[in-house]
Symmetry: C2
Subunit: 106 residues, 2 copies
């Protein structure tokens, strides 16, 4: 609907059948962080076990809408906290507003 921006190949947005792999949110976040094209906005941390949002405004304005159906940093954090709470697979661990970590295997 916008032209540019990377179009994820992962499942859609909402929910439905869990299928097998991790939740769409986790996959999309992984892809987003892993994309070296946008390392100036968000990238893995030195330990590679967490990621850092270097430019929160650009992260919210440009990156979020290309992976999710919104452009709110707080909504992204809310989701992050959801998976931390459930610890369904313990992929993510929230540390601070601009510093999150991935716990184990993906």
């Amino acid at each position: 609907m916008d032209g540019g921006a990377p179009v994820t190949t992962t499942t859609g947005g909402g929910g439905g059948g869990s299928g097998g792999g991790p939740a769409p949110f986790l996959l999309k976040t992984y892809e987003m962080v892993d994309d070296t094209m946008t390392d100036d906005i968000v990238s893995w941390s030195g330990s590679m076990k967490s990621f850092v949002v270097w430019n929160p405004p650009e992260f919210a304005r440009v990156l979020l809408p290309s992976y999710f159906k919104h452009n709110n940093f707080s909504s992204f954090i809310r989701q992050l906290n959801t998976y931390e709470l459930r610890r369904k697979h313990a992929y993510f661990r929230f540390l601070a507003e601009c510093c999150c970590s991935i716990a184990d295997i993906m």
Copy 2:
């Protein structure tokens, strides 16, 4: 994020406090149908108690994204069915894929 398209003044997307009035979906759908600028795509029916989607493809491609965070006709119908099921306020009644009705007061 797109420039054109009518930007609704109603609540946001998701949920949160119910506040007071009808759900955002009902308000947005009402506005969308009521907008005379797009009567060739969707408009009230003769009785004014139901609305007709005259051009489903354009409805999904152009109108839906400007009011909701998607462009799927089926997702719109799903919501319509949700409110029919609950009959929370009995605003809408689903009749057919391209012909829905509004039951009472708005």
